[in-house]
Symmetry: D2
Subunit: 408 residues, 4 copies
């Protein structure tokens, strides 16, 4: 039994299979992957890692299992899955997922593959756990998989409080103690016990407020887009391949970017926080055939056209189109009068928060400050933006944005 001090949950007791998993290289690697990627360029104290988060998820999983009265091999499996749930992540957490997904067809390394081999596979088998069964839980499959990955999972509970603790933004401070206590199983589904519509709403609200303030802060989006572009340059220069990139940690990636001629400019800019600026920041016209449906190659082509028109280096124009807002928590299940109900049908907040997310959904075109004006004008042309419509306006010379709450 090992007791580890954590800044969020205080003492975390690690035992059994979890303890042995902790010492594997794949889990130790998570010490070198920042939980929030480039968000630390906005919130300088947000340097926490996937490792401490994994410990926190394990801790909350243990509490949930205790309250749910689950023990034995099933608890071991969930605990192993909790410790391992992020081992597939590449450097900078989610920041490069799109890139590696495009190249490898996977958002992150296949957990079934990772868990079957090497020291992790050995440890699991020593503890009589089948790697596939644990990987299923990581993927959120099955009754107990919901504890690790689902609408009410302990992953979300940990990251909200942890991100709040390390950024200093209080919105994520949920009552995780209450959440894990109120978990129940009803008809094989993980639900919140009677009297917890509010508790479920608070989880939803926390994420809805953390989203624009932290996770999708415009500077975090810009730096993430720059990092993604640098990663792409690295692959194009064949300095590495997508699979190797995916297995790097933050140190490897940063030094690779610094060392390569192809990525020197973005690397220098990221290192010195000399970031691109927004030339376009416009509400997205979510219509058939609209930009949201363009694939990566189409976007790259737009970037080249914009650069061409603006007479700048094509590498220095970045179009950033985030996916349609989702709200996984809307299907959170709560017990109401003995029936299992989806939060989205029970609470008017769900639709309101979804609407709020859509109203904050923005297309970004980024470039270095000195060419922002020509890039902005060119982007309007190339992307066919209607600067007389409600979605985008010329805020000042060459800067086009949906005016609503735009702060440069």
């Amino acid at each position: 039994m090992k007791t580890i001090k954590d800044s969020v949950h205080d003492h975390i007791v690690v035992d059994g299979v979890a303890r042995d998993l902790l010492d594997t290289p794949a889990v130790q690697r998570l010490r070198n992957i920042a939980q929030l990627g480039t968000v630390s360029l906005v919130y300088p104290s947000a340097n926490h890692t996937r490792f401490e988060h994994s410990l926190g998820v394990y801790h909350l999983a243990c509490e949930a299992l205790e309250h749910l009265g689950i023990g034995g091999i099933e608890a071991d499996r969930v605990q192993a899955a909790a410790i391992l749930h992020d081992v597939g992540h590449g450097p900078f957490s989610h920041n490069l997922e799109e890139l590696t997904h495009r190249k490898t067809g996977r958002y992150h390394d296949d957990v079934h593959d990772l868990l079957a081999v090497g020291e992790i596979g050995d440890v699991l088998r020593e503890h009589d756990l089948e790697p596939d069964a644990v990987a299923d839980l990581v993927a959120g499959n099955g009754r107990f998989g919901q504890i690790v990955s689902g609408e009410l999972d302990v992953d979300r509970m940990d990251y909200l409080v942890r991100d709040a603790h390390h950024t200093g933004v209080p919105y994520g401070t949920i009552d995780h103690g209450r959440l894990v206590r109120e978990l129940r199983f009803a008809d094989g589904e993980l639900v919140l016990a009677e009297g917890n519509v509010q508790t479920a709403e608070s989880l939803l609200v926390a994420r809805a407020l953390m989203n624009p303030t932290v996770y999708s802060h415009s500077v975090a989006r810009i730096s993430k887009a720059m990092l993604r572009r640098a990663g792409e340059q690295l692959l194009e220069a064949e300095e590495t391949d997508a699979h190797t990139l995916q297995r790097m940690d933050d140190h490897d990636l940063i030094v690779s970017l610094r060392s390569s001629d192809a990525t020197g400019e973005f690397s220098r800019r990221l290192d010195h926080r000399d970031l691109y600026k927004r030339a376009v920041w416009a509400e997205i016209d979510d219509v058939p055939g609209g930009i949201i449906e363009a694939d990566h190659e189409a976007i790259r082509e737009f970037e080249r056209e914009i650069a061409d028109l603006a007479n700048v280096d094509p590498e220095t124009v970045i179009i950033d189109v985030p996916a349609r807002p989702s709200m996984k928590e809307s299907t959170t299940r709560v017990l109401v009068n003995g029936d299992v109900r989806q939060l989205g049908r029970q609470s008017p907040l769900v639709d309101a928060l979804r609407a709020a997310q859509y109203s904050q959904w923005r297309l970004g075109v980024y470039s270095s400050d000195d060419v922002r004006e020509p890039v902005g004008r060119a982007a309007v042309d190339v992307l066919g933006l209607d600067i007389d419509g409600p979605l985008v306006t010329e805020v000042r010379d060459g800067l086009y944005a949906t005016l609503d709450q735009f702060v440069d």
Copy 2:
């Protein structure tokens, strides 16, 4: 200059008129008035007082004034108003307001009267402040009155974080530092600067989550209703009058209730936390002529009829009809593209939270546990509740509630 250590804001520097006001009996009296009244019967650590809250409001007012660039006599007035904003409160804060309002025609003592006389009046005049001008600010009047009492006032900012700190419920933990920094004046109105729709929403959300969890928790409502009834018995027994009651502090009131034959039963129950239970907990039918329009006498008559039908002592039936939910924050003003907009028009959250409040709005009929069944049945009859309709159902013998999330 005096530095006072506060558990919420750390060091609070009190100076000038505020320092002198602090030593007046009327302000010192606030040490003996619990901020949350009977809420401590639900959250045992919520024993904070109006005094420390007043200090906190003063502290945030000073920060707001600094960020707004307001100094001189105008700042003095606001600081005085901040320290004094609660001096009119009776014992147990808002718990007895309805009672004293009914008897005296006032929700709390007239601040204009209180500020003009005694040591407060002396101190204000010594510092060249006119009591009436300060009282106007307390009432939220005028440009600077909005800082003390309005949609974006520092009163709300302090009580949310303070109540969160002392109850342990995290929902009230707003980013008050950001809120006071982002205050601006636009066309004479206090607004939040550009880019703060989210910040405004977070304030709204915090109150919306604290409301059912803390302020209107069913046990807090029951104990408050019992306290109000005891206060009424005290007045009816002519052991005191409404004005004297209003000037008591918590100690006086509690001992008065203990000492009077008329109030012995409720006093004992409150002291021993031997509280009434809900016999009816039903959604309110907000129709013309409905119970929401009944005045106090009509309610008292209903209570007597219920008691009569149930064959119990008329004093042991309490009907509790809260006022229609309000959402003052919906008129919070934010700057959006240089225009002042009301949050209610800008954010879909406002309507959703208002709808949520309405869906939680409940009529309560309370009685001692042993007669809950007959009282429940009688209340259904007397109040003409439709137990086949959606608003109320027989949950179990003699207990009638809107089923939705009812937890006994």
Copy 3:
């Protein structure tokens, strides 16, 4: 099973005998006794009560029992003792103990008596616990009594963190999680496991820093002395007797003081925080026959002589001689190389902290501000203070203090 939200320990689960004890009048009464008595006149947010503290002690006792592997009836007894450990306290916690002790021969009500009778006795017997056995644990007797009352008791752990949380003074923030985890039994004695000399020192240091800053702050001492004098006046006026006084809660005592002619002056001063000032604040000459050996009557006689000489009302002079500093924690036991050792023999800090306590040990003579000068001069005469010696100097007209770090 009942879950209670606490501002310090978050969720506290109360079950079994503890849950039933919680509903007894004697435990509910603790809601009305301030944990720190008059300390709230120095730290305005320190309004926490013996009730929440008792819950906290129960919570830590449960954790300690779990880590020590103690269950069954023995755990029930300890849990009951934890909830009940403060039921004997009079109003304002320790503030009036000296007074009631003098009158009744007891520092607080005899716990053996209190636990045998009334609802507490009934509840204990219903749960097959003998009141005497539980009272023995409260008194710190026996193997398991050390958990509740001893050098390493959970009482101290709770009050240090709780007092830090509510005053805002960080010094009490110990690592209680580690302390309860590292408890062991060795030869029937409660000790800290190997590797915890530091942990034991941290507990000692926390109390040593909280002591002058919070518990013995000069303003807390003055107001406590005034309250004690008022209590004495109340008894002398035969408005109540010592036993009744002891069973009052804070509300009763405050209103009694307000109502009595005999105590009106002190009551008004305490209510308005119009406190006495120090006329003498001198290091204590701890010699045979010195003031530390004077009994209450001798002190009262000195007060009268001083008043006579200063020509002031004898009731307005208060001499305050605190007992010799003690350091219970010096006998804390820690395991060092398998041997049980007393911290006082292991750590040089113990002697240093004891020396520090002695160097802060002060005799106070208090009076109203307007007569401080004559009272100070008279006190020097009557008490035979050597104002040319190192223990006391005339700081300014009529104010005599050990200069060392004197701040008026």
Copy 4:
């Protein structure tokens, strides 16, 4: 003006020269240097950086300047020094200082050199500050240098609370608000105002408790020694030179260690947390000619002899001899009765804490677990340790330690 959210101090306002300095590469580099080096191998959430610490030091410096009433160019200089005080640090903060000092003759880069050149020099001169004057403050020279580097500097105040926040160890939680408020200048020296002996002691105590628990935790010492050895191997293999090493950040160093054949073994071990164990952990015999006086070459020779005798690879034996304990805070100055006194002469705690530090002072000999036994035996021989004396005993086969509180 820029407002940055910090997890410790909440909002930090950065303005003027500090704001411009923040954007320089030399300051941005501090984002990539962990504040506590390898301590994160003990406390997984301790991933905070020198960058956020520098912001915190700047913030406290601003508060100190305000309370001290210092403005104008002098305040600008102090603020610049606060932001810049750590720019000379090499990778992993202090972990490699001994190594680079040995090679370059400097503990860290000369601040006078660093501040005069590049963007920092430009920014300083643009704001009419002479780099040398700022560098003097960083070095703690002059009246105002004491604010940045001295017994009462804001550097220490920030790191104690920040390290407590991020490790979760509460001992560092000092009352920094009070400390900065109580700073005064007396005869050109920075002192704490009257009444603050306790406050000064609390700072001392905080560091004394953090030291063994965090900064000198045995696992932190072992991993630091391994990192230092790896750094030495890198230099010996001529893969880099000391000056280049010193200018690396953590990313560069980690990847350099991973890439070099010479350092592969240590690099793998540090990456996988497969750390050396203690073979000797003995109290240090502080006698003339003792090991404390041995220089690096002598230590290396001992290591080789031990390896030879134990028949293991000479690179796998590490002797770790920490410098004599120091207690800079003992010369903290406090005002006592108007005189400036050194805390060490005023408080018995200083000597006690120094004695405690000496009693914890340990010589370590580390090796991989599988050869711990032969290495331990060989070290006893080579270092001439008296295993019958009080300083070292054979705890079990081949493991030699001062028994006192040894926990493997």
